[in-house]
Symmetry: C2
Subunit: 142 residues, 2 copies
């Protein structure tokens, strides 16, 4: 049995975050000492490891909730879990695509200006003001 601080050290999840996960229902309510402090066992440690790993992979709290629920239903786990993972992958790929377009434009913008030149006509500011200077469309979202 370890304290919340111990758990935090082992999983690298901060103490208030652990309490937050409990509040959100990702972690079962922990046992308490007579003095009302939380105590965890190996199962709690593993569950938190799972959560942390999934968060690192960018899964939302909601998605993780679904995954956890699936663990209790082995009959339909596999397909549903794969669906969640695939949707996460689609999401990640869309973000990469968008960021690459942004990278391209930022490179273009920052190259236009050498940092010590034409002072009253900064290319960075002009580029940001005029979307028409962009090579291609880029939009919000994703």
């Amino acid at each position: 049995m370890f304290s919340i601080g111990e758990l935090s050290k082992r999983t690298k999840v901060k103490v208030p975050t652990i309490r937050y996960y409990e509040e959100m229902g990702l972690l079962a309510e922990a046992e308490r000492t007579v003095g009302n402090q939380r105590r965890y066992d190996k199962a709690g440690l593993e569950r938190l490891g799972f959560i942390r790993h999934a968060r690192d992979l960018g899964f939302s709290i909601e998605a993780i909730s679904s995954l956890i629920e699936l663990q209790g239903h082995p009959d339909r786990s596999c397909e549903a879990a794969t669906n969640i993972t695939t949707s996460q992958l689609v999401d990640v790929r869309a973000k990469i695509k968008r960021l690459k377009a942004l990278e391209k434009e930022l490179v273009r913008i920052s190259k236009g200006c050498d940092g010590h030149g034409v002072s009253e006509d900064c290319y960075v500011l002009a580029s940001l003001a005029d979307h028409g200077l962009c090579d291609r469309e880029h939009t919000r979202g994703a």
Copy 2:
């Protein structure tokens, strides 16, 4: 002179967002009609276009504030603006790198399971539970 709704249509920035930008100091306080409604001129339209474009490129409100302030000081605009842009670029590149690592692991995880097989031993859930199954380290942040 156009209303906030007109401005919204032209810039594709939602009405409450325009008010929010004003509150945050990105937009100057608009003139008002006798009935207290906001009215904008061409300068307001351009300023909002600038903000929107910068937001699309992922600049934070704070960074945009700095850029706007720089527009009033042509003597030091160029270098400082380039610095902000470069830092934004570094940020975007770090995000891309991290997302590519995630993509790789998600592909690996979702391939492990064909979606209709071994029901009580889902590879997705196992992978998420056990960080040791990862090819490489991946961490939070960026």
